[in-house]
Amino acid sequence: MTDLVYVAICVGFFAVAIAYTYGCQKLLGGSHD
């Protein structure tokens, strides 16, 4: 159970990082296209 919590924290962070990537891409699209 405890291990699942920490794995979930890791996966959750990377999910945020992927959303952040697309956020930057959206900003780039708005800036250049």
Binding site: D3, V5, C10, Y20, S31
Partner: protein, 603 residues
């Protein structure tokens, strides 16, 4: 500074300068996909790796694909390491019988994140916590991979400047494989043999127990040290096999191995500035970055060495002779190895924190306030003083963007850098990367300095829930106050240093803080993730945006960025951004402590 310290500094920079051009040029060839002498021996292995991974190395990735590949790779290896650490009790190469008890869940999370992010912050004592397997497989895989990823990101950003009207910034998998096979592997093979020749052990035997001269029993820990020591330093990882890290005689047996270590730490970060110059078609651009880094580095070494050599008023008041002589290093020797003395300890502290290495050969907690301020400030700059492998270059390029932006504002022209117009998006991304680091360091340090978690209740129960190793009777709880070895300004400095080190992916510790608690393991773990990935992503976005642009021909209004003037401006921007962002923290910590020390106050 003593004459010996000056001589060592000159020798060190001379050697670094000699290495930069050939190693940098070699790296430029490797990442351009050109054939080198090593391709005959390792080309087959490279192709086999691509087949195994199922990737096409010729595929030119857009920046988003590059970032996603980096994130997927990092997450997969992070989960692997977490699992391997938790399961070390049932895995091989574990003669000491270490298991999950030594590596509870919160510590395994912190450690797995730490090595994945090239930080190598160690909230544990390695020799009583991790098995040989954990060291050599679960952790060492990141010593290679995180270094190769850092180099790959720097190369991708460089391609952004070098390419014209391109949609891609290279192939992540090819960059990581080539960096590992053609750079890290051969250098580590040679370096490990040199370490062995210097007396660093390499063994799978169980620890030895010996009888001391006084008749007591002492356990002597060792392991496969040489093979790990080389990638620890060359890859600017810094995680020790022993708790004393590079102050331990098995990791760093002599002043010669100490000097070799220093050169290893900065060799790739220095060389990659020349790689940058070569790839953008103007070597002087790389030398301008090298010059800015070298100026900051030399200033740091001089300040740190002078502060440590001067000693403290407390020593003077006790009538202790602190003058350097043939018989003693003099100055403030607290927390330093007598084998290395002041000069080699201060140089090491500056090098390891200028880079994102974090190996230590002295306890930074015992430095004088101003001596300790130098490693702290180095980390707060984002570690751009040569910096981590790859990380130093992409961090300095972030500052270069800000520098040309500021210069452009001064003269009222659209800024340009390496023939690319620097527009709104690039500045937004550079600022985002800067602010993410600042928010993490300052936010977590503020929280940890103010939150006083109760002994009973939520955090105590959460301790048990998170699987902490601590029992109910000796539960380590809360944040700052319960886990510091010093109160006042120095205590705050310990907290500030911890989050600067975590966010900067440095990994060195001020050593005055009990960091192996659920609070610190989780929050420093998050700081490391934020400092690594939330900084890299905007810089990759910037690479993608720059690659799409064409080159603007230089005109009479173009600010030249390959001159000492630009290097000076870059130094100014690094200092101003660092000082303005972190001055309140520095003022509350080492600056106050310095004045207290001058007044002979204890804290």
């Amino acid at each position: 500074m003593t004459a010996l310290a000056t001589l060592q500094l000159l020798l060190f920079f001379g050697l670094l300068l000699l290495l930069t051009k050939p190693l940098g040029a070699y790296m430029a060839r490797v990442f351009a996909g050109e054939k080198t002498l090593l391709h005959r021996a390792l080309g087959g292995l490279e192709r086999a790796t691509y087949r195994l991974l199922g990737v096409d190395p010729e595929e030119d990735m857009k920046w988003t694909s590059y970032a996603l590949a980096m994130l997927v790779f990092s997450l997969a290896t992070l989960i692997f390491t977490y699992g391997a650490l938790r399961l070390q009790g049932v895995l091989p190469l574990n003669p000491q019988g270490f298991g999950a008890k030594q590596m509870p869940a919160d510590l395994a999370f912190n450690t797995a994140v730490s090595f994945t992010t090239n930080t190598n912050w160690q909230a544990y004592s390695p020799e009583v916590t991790v098995s040989y397997f954990s060291n050599m497989v679960a952790l060492a895989i990141h010593n290679w991979a995180s270094a190769a990823v850092g180099i790959a990101i720097a190369i991708a950003l460089t391609r952004g400047f070098a390419r014209k009207s391109a949609s891609g910034i290279g192939n992540f998998w090819a960059d990581v494989v080539r960096g590992t096979l053609y750079m890290l592997l051969p250098l580590c093979l040679v370096g490990a043999v040199i370490f062995l020749a210097m007396g660093v052990p390499q063994s799978f035997e169980p620890y030895s127990t010996v009888t001391t001269l006084e008749g007591g029993k002492q356990t002597i820990a060792f392991g496969a040290v040489a093979s790990q020591e080389i990638i620890k330093q060359l890859g600017t990882n810094g995680g020790g096999i022993f708790n004393a890290n590079s102050a331990h005689p098995f990791e760093n047996p002599s002043p010669l191995s100490n000097f070799f270590t220093l050169v290893l730490i900065w060799s790739i970060p220095a060389a990659i500035t020349h790689t940058f110059g070569k790839m953008v078609g103007n070597a002087k651009q790389g030398w301008a970055l090298f010059g800015a880094m070298a100026a900051l580095a030399i200033a740091g070494v001089v300040i740190c060495t002078s502060a440590e050599q001067a000693g403290t008023p407390h020593l003077a008041a006790a009538h202790i002779d602190t003058a350097a002589s043939a018989l003693q290093a003099g100055g403030n020797m607290e927390g330093k190895e007598v084998r290395f003395g002041i000069a080699s300890s201060a140089l090491f502290a500056t090098v390891t924190t200028g880079a994102s290495c974090g190996a230590v050969n002295a306890m930074h907690d015992s430095f004088t306030p101003l001596g300790g301020l130098v490693p702290l400030f180095n980390m707060l700059t984002g570690e751009v003083i040569f910096g981590g492998v790859g990380a130093g270059l992409y961090g300095m390029l972030m500052f270069a963007i800000l520098a040309v932006f500021i210069a452009g504002l001064m003269v009222g022209r659209t800024p340009e850098y390496i023939g690319k117009k620097i527009e709104k998006f690039e500045v937004q991304m550079a600022m985002l990367a800067t602010l993410v680091l600042a928010a993490s360091v300052l936010g977590f340090a503020a929280l940890s300095s103010t939150i006083d978690l109760p002994k009973e209740g939520f955090w105590a129960s959460l301790n048990t829930w998170l699987g902490s190793a601590y029992g109910a009777a000796d539960t380590v709880y809360g944040a700052a106050t319960g886990n510091l070895n010093n109160a006042g300004a120095h205590g705050f400095g310990e907290i500030f240093y911890a989050y600067a080190s975590g966010t900067g992916n440095n990994g060195s510790a001020f050593a005055g803080i009990t960091a192996n608690t659920p609070w610190y393991n989780v929050t420093i773990g998050l700081a490391m993730l934020i400092g690594r990935f939330l900084m890299i992503i905007p810089l990759l976005a910037m690479a993608g945006a720059l690659a799409k642009k064409g080159h603007v021909p230089a005109s009479s209004g173009t600010f030249p960025t390959d001159t000492p003037t630009f290097a000076g401006l870059l130094v100014g921007v690094v200092l101003i951004v660092g000082a303005l962002t972190y001055f309140p923290g520095l003022a509350l910590g080492p600056v106050v402590e310095h004045f207290q020390m001058q007044a002979l106050a204890t804290h």
